[in-house]
């Protein structure tokens, strides 16, 4: 089999605060860490069962997720910066610290 997607892991990217798209304008840069990859090897009996129960229409019109998702398990410390209007801002839970399949 070919490796289509790497398993869920922590990635990082240097971006400016503006590029975060939260509405702040600042040329300061932050290390944005995020979770990426597949959780194929974290599937549980729960997921298989939920998928089958849904397939048999025993669950209708409900938002259920029958596969684990690769998500942050913990977040980095808050980030602070001086924006273009010389005002200081602090923003929490922007960057992931630890990732996992849940």
């Amino acid at each position: 089999a070919k490796a289509r997607h790497k398993p869920c892991s922590l990635k990082e990217l240097e971006v400016t605060v503006s590029e975060l798209g939260l509405g702040y304008t600042s040329d300061e840069t932050v290390l944005f860490r995020y979770c990426s990859g597949t959780c194929d090897s974290a599937v549980r009996n729960y997921d298989l069962s939920l998928r089958n129960v849904r397939k048999m229409r025993k669950i209708k019109k409900e938002k259920v997720r029958a596969r684990p998702c690769c998500r942050p398990l913990a977040y980095d410390d808050d980030i602070s910066f001086l924006d273009a209007g010389n005002r200081y801002y602090t923003v929490n839970e922007v960057s992931a610290k630890e990732c996992g399949c849940v």
Binding site: A1, K2, S41, V43, R44, N45, L48, R65, A66, R67
Partner: protein
């Protein structure tokens, strides 16, 4: 009879016989004496002088010589409104007149070694049953089972009286007669007048151990007559009165030691029968009763062999009836590993002894003709040649190396090794199988296979027997063959990761022989050993065994070797997946999955 029980009522008249205890003698000249202990144990009230019961020393008639009304009732029933209580006491049996010291206290614990019968009286807090309230059946027989035990080889004697005592049968104006229905040839005689039953001769359990007679009682009153029949069972108790014998006269067996030389190997078995029973409870006593000892002064023989003795109950059928006996099995067993160089023949004797049998021929001799053959460590006179595909991956299994008879060995450990050839094309190695019988050849440096200059590689092969250090040599030729196919970098290194045939066959993985994984199409529904899966080589994986090559790396064949979590319908083997539902695939060292592949609809949360 070991136990007697009878009902006694508060208002029962005194002075009449209550019960008769019967006993048989061990020898003609023996006398029979019955006796009671001076004290009575009253369950809630402790020990009291026995003022209420008395027994006739020579007839065994038990009398009730003081009314319960006065005090025993209060003690027994504790003044509560309990309707019934039990009074238990032993009746002692002796061949000498009683001196009164047989039972220091009435507790039954010290009567283990004094022959006695246990009497249980149900003292009922009610008046004696009148005639019309007594069921017809109760007039004939008491509660007690008519079952008796008679020792074999003992003199005749009376063991029961059918007729009830007057107070046990309150109806006066009726007539009760008894009959015992039994074949004339049986060793029992029924005296119509006294209604007693006698065993008329000494019994032999080895001829017959159970007799079933029929006691018939007929009750006539003015208007009608009713009869009732109850089985009367006699069990013959065994004595060790027969010597051991050989079932078909064979006391000799051959025992050859060749390829299987490990401790515990059973070389030969001989049977000894005994017409007596041998209780398997408590086991140790019976085992000690029948011994089987090697009779030799040779220290080596004593050290090298042992005799194991097991016995179980079998049935003999002397003239039509079924009688229990014992079959003793004596197994000659290797007590330690025998070297492959050892070679000798001799006769080993075992003395079997029935320690408890007093008569002649209490022991007999068994003979084992032992021949220990040497084992040669030789390769078959061939040179080994294997063709290996140049696309083979590491841990792909090329073949087996096996010296003569190696698969028949047990207790013989062969170490195989390839001598390092002087060329740079060293791509193959060998590992012992689990029981050190044969060797498995596998690729351990696949890069060498891709070198065009490596075409044919010779290896000297060495096999060494661990204990004797004897060696054998041979030659192995590995021929590299096949056109190289490009392996995609994106491929994972474990075939087991693939969930579909296309994924499986697009890549290789550890253990593949031809550069590509092989898809095993499963069959059967539900959880089946024949699940679909992607394998490096269907011949060895999955085959339910995690062999010594597969156990070198968890990525080779997790289907056979995993101990991790298996998710989805499955059945776990000693290691690996013994059976699975649909397709089984694994993330080595993480999880394995078995699931149906029939969910085609795209999962909305994938979008």
């Amino acid at each position: 009879r070991k136990e007697y029980h009878e009902n006694v009522y508060i208002d029962q008249p005194v002075g009449l016989p209550l019960l008769r205890i019967h006993a048989l003698k061990d020898s003609e000249e023996e006398e029979v004496h019955f006796g009671l202990c001076p004290d009575l144990v009253i369950q809630r009230d402790g020990i009291h002088k026995n003022l209420w019961f008395q027994i006739q020393e020579n007839t065994g008639l038990l009398f009730f010589n003081r009314s319960l009304e006065k005090d025993l009732h209060k003690m027994l029933l504790g003044g509560s409104w309990a309707t019934m209580s039990k009074l238990v006491f032993p009746v002692l049996l002796s061949s000498q007149p009683f001196q009164g010291k047989e039972c220091q206290s009435a507790h039954s614990y010290n009567l283990q070694h004094v022959p006695h019968a246990k009497v249980t009286l149900s003292v009922i807090n009610a008046t004696m049953p009148s005639c019309h309230s007594t069921a017809l059946g109760q007039m004939c027989f008491t509660d007690m089972d008519l079952s008796f035990q008679i020792k074999e080889n003992k003199p005749p004697g009376t063991f029961h009286q059918l007729q009830l005592f007057p107070q046990q049968q309150p109806c006066q104006n009726i007539s009760i007669s008894y009959k015992v229905i039994a074949d004339e040839s049986l060793p029992f005689h029924y005296d119509q007048n006294t209604t007693t039953i006698r065993v008329t001769r000494s019994l032999d359990r080895e001829t017959r151990e159970k007799y079933e007679l029929l006691a018939k009682c007929t009750v006539r009153d003015a208007s009608k007559e009713t009869s009732k029949e109850v089985p009367l069972l006699v069990t013959v108790l065994d004595e060790d009165d027969t010597p051991p014998f050989l079932p078909n006269g064979t006391n000799t067996a051959d025992a050859v030691v060749e390829f299987c030389r490990k401790e515990g190997t059973v070389l030969a078995t001989l049977m000894v029968y005994d017409a007596d029973t041998t209780p398997i409870f408590p086991l140790e006593n019976s085992r000690k009763k029948y011994t089987g000892t090697i009779s030799t002064s040779d220290a080596w023989v004593k050290e090298t062999f042992r005799v194991e003795h097991i016995f179980n109950e079998i049935y003999f059928n002397p003239n039509g009836s079924q009688v229990r006996g014992t079959q003793h099995e004596y197994k000659l067993v290797l007590n330690k590993v025998i070297s492959i160089t050892e070679s000798r023949s001799f006769q080993l004797d075992v003395i079997v002894n029935d320690t408890e049998y007093q008569g002649p021929d209490k022991s007999l001799m068994l003979h084992f003709n032992i021949s220990i053959l040497p084992v040669s460590i030789q390769f078959p006179n061939i040179t080994y040649q294997f063709t290996v595909n140049r696309n083979a991956a590491n841990f792909s299994q090329i073949g087996k190396i096996c010296i003569n008879n190696c698969m028949r060995f047990c207790g013989i450990n062969i170490m195989y090794s390839l001598q390092a050839p002087n060329v740079s094309c060293y791509a193959v190695n060998i590992v012992q199988s689990h029981e050190d019988k044969d060797g498995s050849l596998y690729v351990n440096d696949s890069a060498v296979l891709r070198k065009p200059e490596c075409k044919e590689i010779q290896y000297p092969v060495l096999a060494v027997e661990k204990q004797s250090k004897k060696e054998a040599h041979s030659y192995l030729t590995v021929i590299l063959d096949g056109k190289l196919i490009r392996n995609d970098e994106g491929c994972l290194d474990s075939c087991a990761r693939s969930k579909t045939r296309s994924e499986c066959e697009e890549c290789g993985g550890l253990g593949v022989l031809t550069g590509r994984c092989q898809w095993r199409k499963g069959s059967g529904t539900g959880i089946t050993p024949n699940y679909s899966t992607c394998s490096p080589s269907i011949r060895t994986c999955p085959d339910g065994k995690c062999d010594t090559v597969e156990s070198k790396d968890p990525r080779i064949c997790p289907q056979d070797c995993t101990n991790t979590n298996i998710i989805g319908g499955h059945e776990r083997g000693l290691t690996g997946i013994k059976a699975g539902n649909g397709i089984c695939y694994c993330f080595p060292e993480e999880n394995c999955y078995c699931e149906k592949d029939d969910i085609k609809e795209p999962l909305c949360d994938d979008m």
